[in-house]
Symmetry: C2
Subunit: 149 residues, 2 copies
């Protein structure tokens, strides 16, 4: 695991890259059965008949995989990734067999005025497949602590 | 299940309300172990020592439960819920034993200029607990088909 970054260590333009995660049809269907039970996420034939032209993952599944890749080293923030909010988009769907990776870039670093021990960092992430298809973009604001002392 | 709405049936200010979903500690930990393995989502003691003061669900888990509630009747759109993007915020965390429900309001209805068979509907949803604590707000844009003919 890379060293964890505090607010003081972050600067606009800094970039991070995650490991990879491969998702298969069984996982796509299992996530969808529990959280997004729509035919094009549950069944190859229904996906083929939809505008997606095949089985596709729920966008929330792509978001969850992206989070895992960030938590497991793709975005090494001391104290963890605690998000207040985000803008998310899914320009293309994740498909069975896709191997995802996440690239993050720091957009802004703002020390808190009211709480001198922390700040808000805005990041933009892109989640891409092995063929460089962008399946998710995310702009998120996370709370990051300063180094003690 | 309520009847499904097409673009022609939707108007600004229209509201929908979902059924409910109760989430327990085991489900919070299982989701987190797979998709957001941070201590405050995995362990009561670690949650208690965090700024959350107890075990809390991943925001992406709250998002996934919200999607299920919408898909299962909370947002009855003909052809399914296909989202291009969204703005999401988590003003408070979901905690073990919380019973969530989702209220949606139509913010805008825009027929497509290039594709006369469909349009884009913008919705705002709030996900609340049994004590009316707002755990998620979501503004999303979804593709909605017009009635045939």
């Amino acid at each position: 695991m890379p060293p964890d970054f505090a607010l003081d260590d972050l600067a606009v333009g800094q970039r991070f890259e995650s490991a990879t995660y491969t998702v298969d049809a069984d996982e796509i269907k299992a996530f969808a059965a529990r959280y997004d039970p729509q035919p094009f996420h549950l069944d190859e034939a229904a996906g083929g008949a939809s505008l997606f032209g095949g089985l596709v993952a729920s966008g929330w599944h792509t978001a969850a995989i992206t989070m895992r890749l960030m938590v497991e080293g793709g975005l090494p923030i001391a104290g963890g990734l605690i998000g207040a909010g985000a803008e998310i988009a899914w320009p293309n769907p994740t498909r069975p067999g896709d191997t995802l990776r996440v690239q993050c870039e720091v957009l802004s670093v703002q020390p808190s005025r009211s709480r001198p021990d922390r700040g808000i960092v805005t990041l933009r992430s892109e989640t891409r497949t092995q063929r460089d298809v962008v399946v998710q973009t995310l702009v998120c604001r996370i709370v990051v602590m300063r180094r003690a002392g």
